[in-house]
Assembly symmetry: C2
Homo-oligomer: 238 residues x 2
DNA sequence: CGGCGCCTTGAGGTACGTCAACGAAAGTGG
DNA sequence: CCACTTTCGTTGACGTACCTCAAGGCGCCG
C-alpha cells in the first residue's frame, strides 16, 4: 500500500468490489461513506442484531463470517444462513420494521451499516444499481439454498453446499479449494437440514474417498468434479 | 365502485395495499404509474420471463399465481417457489443482469413491470421504503421456506407450507382457511423436496385425519391448530 | 486429573424413495 | 356422444438412507 491512510473506509475496504462501492465513481465514494458506516470489530459470539430489534438499517459483511438464525417458540434454533464478505444482512427486517432473525459473528468480524433513511441519497449518487445487484445476489443465494435443500440425499446437500462455499471463496479472491468454515458442525448440520451424526458420516465418507480433507475450521476440496457429480448443478449461486 | 374508470392502473389495482403503492400519497400514484406498467393478462402456461433473458426490470404479481423454476443441465426442473399477488419476482436476475430462473403463470395472471432505470424516480417519489419492504418480505419468505425445507419429516414440510399459504391468503384479503392451489401435485412435491407419491400419502393422511379437505385446485384447512402442531413454528413468513 | 464441549462411531428402527400397477379426469378424434 | 389416448393422482410392496439412541475419543480448561 503506497497510498496514505485515508479516513474514507470505503476507499480502503478490501471488499469494495463486492459491495455498494462497485461501479461508483471515485468521487462518489465520499458520498457513499456518509451513508455507509463500518462497525467496530465484533468478536466471536457477539450479535450484529437480534430478532425483534428495530430494523431501520441493513448491513453488508465487510470481513469475517456471520450466522443468521431464528428461534422457534420451543426455543430451538434454526440456522438460516452463513454470510461471507460482500453479502447483505438484515433485509428481512425491512418487511415489518423489526428483525425476523438474529445475526451473530462466528469469528471476529466487521459489517457496514446502511441506514434505510440514507438509501434515497444512495440512489442519488448512483449506488442504486449496486444495491439491486446485491439484493439480487442475496435472493439468488437463497434460491440456490432452496434447491440444494430440496435434494433428498444428504451427500448431495453437503456436496452442493461445499461447492457454493467454494464459489464464494473464489468470488472474494481466495483459493477456491480452501473453504473457510468457522461454523460448528452442529450449526452446519442444522442449516443443511440433517443431524449432526449424518453430517459427520457424510464428511467421513468424503474424506475417506479423497474428495475433501478437513482441518480445524477449514475444509479443502481435493476433487471438485467428483463433488459436482454428487451435487446436482445449482444455478450459479454466487 | 362509484368512481369512474380511471386510466391509472395503480389507483384501480385490487392489490395496491400490498404493493409499491402502499404508503404513497394519492398524488404520487400518477408518478408511480409511469414507473410501473401492468402486463396484459398472461394465460396459464405463458412465461413472464425466461432463464437467461435480460433482466432490466423486476415484477410484482398483480393477480393469479406464478411458478418460478430453474433447470439443471440434465434438464430436470427445480421449482423455487409459487408467487401470489403482492409478491416480487425477477429480483434474482439483478445479480448478473440475466434472469437466473423462469417464471410461468399457473392460471391467467397479471404482473406489473418495474424497470430498473425507473427505480431512481421510484425513490424520488417516496416509493423506496415500499420497495425495501417488499424486498424484505421476499427474503423473509425465502428464509421461511429454508427453515421449512430443513424439516426432516415430510408431514412437517407439507403442514408448514399449507400454513404459509394460509397466511398469504389472509394477507391478500381472502379466507385463510381456503387455499387457492393451482399448481400440480408434481410441482408442489418438487418444491417441497419430496416425491409425488410421498406428497399424495401425506395429503391422504391429512384428509383422513380431518385436518384438511382437498377439492380441485384448492385445499381447505379444517384444523389449523393441529397442522401447526405438526409443522414447527415458522417465523411469520408473510 | 476430572469435567465438559465437540465430534466420531456403532446398532437398530422407520419414514420415505423406488418401482409398479391401478384409477380418475381431461382432452381428442371419429 | 362415446371409445381412445394422455395426463395426473392414488395405492401397494419393498429396500435403503437417515434419524434415534447410546457409547466412546479428543481437545480444552479448571
Amino acid at each position: 500500500m503506497t497510498q496514505p491512510a485515508t479516513d474514507n473506509p470505503c476507499k480502503s475496504c478490501p471488499t469494495r468490489v463486492l459491495c455498494l462501492a462497485s461501479g461508483l465513481e471515485e468521487t462518489a465514494l465520499d458520498s457513499l461513506a456518509e451513508c455507509v458506516k463500518p462497525s467496530a470489530p465484533l468478536e466471536k459470539g457477539k450479535h450484529l442484531y437480534r430478532e425483534g430489534n428495530r430494523a431501520d438499517r441493513c448491513y453488508v459483511v465487510r470481513s469475517g463470517v456471520f450466522k443468521t438464525f431464528a428461534m422457534t417458540p420451543a426455543g430451538d434454533e434454526y440456522v438460516t444462513g452463513f454470510h461471507y464478505p460482500g453479502e447483505l444482512l438484515g433485509v428481512t427486517g425491512q418487511a415489518t420494521g423489526r428483525h425476523a432473525d438474529s445475526a451473530v459473528a462466528l469469528e471476529t468480524s466487521t459489517a457496514c451499516r446502511v441506514r434505510l433513511d440514507e438509501m434515497a441519497t444512495l440512489w442519488e449518487i448512483g449506488g442504486g444499481t449496486s444495491l439491486m445487484r446485491m439484493l439480487g445476489q442475496s435472493e439468488k443465494k437463497a434460491a440456490g439454498s432452496q434447491i440444494n435443500l430440496g435434494q433428498v440425499r444428504a451427500d448431495a446437500r453437503v456436496a452442493g453446499y461445499l461447492l457454493q462455499l467454494s464459489r464464494k471463496q473464489q468470488q472474494i479472491g481466495r483459493d477456491k479449494r480452501i473453504l473457510h468454515t468457522p461454523m460448528s458442525r452442529t450449526d452446519l448440520a442444522n442449516f443443511l437440514g440433517m443431524t449432526l451424526e449424518s453430517l459427520s458420516r457424510v464428511m467421513g465418507r468424503f474424506s475417506k474417498a479423497g474428495l475433501v480433507t478437513s482441518r480445524l475450521g477449514e475444509i479443502v476440496i481435493e476433487r471438485p468434479d467428483d463433488l459436482q457429480a454428487l451435487a446436482l448443478h445449482i444455478p450459479d449461486s454466487d
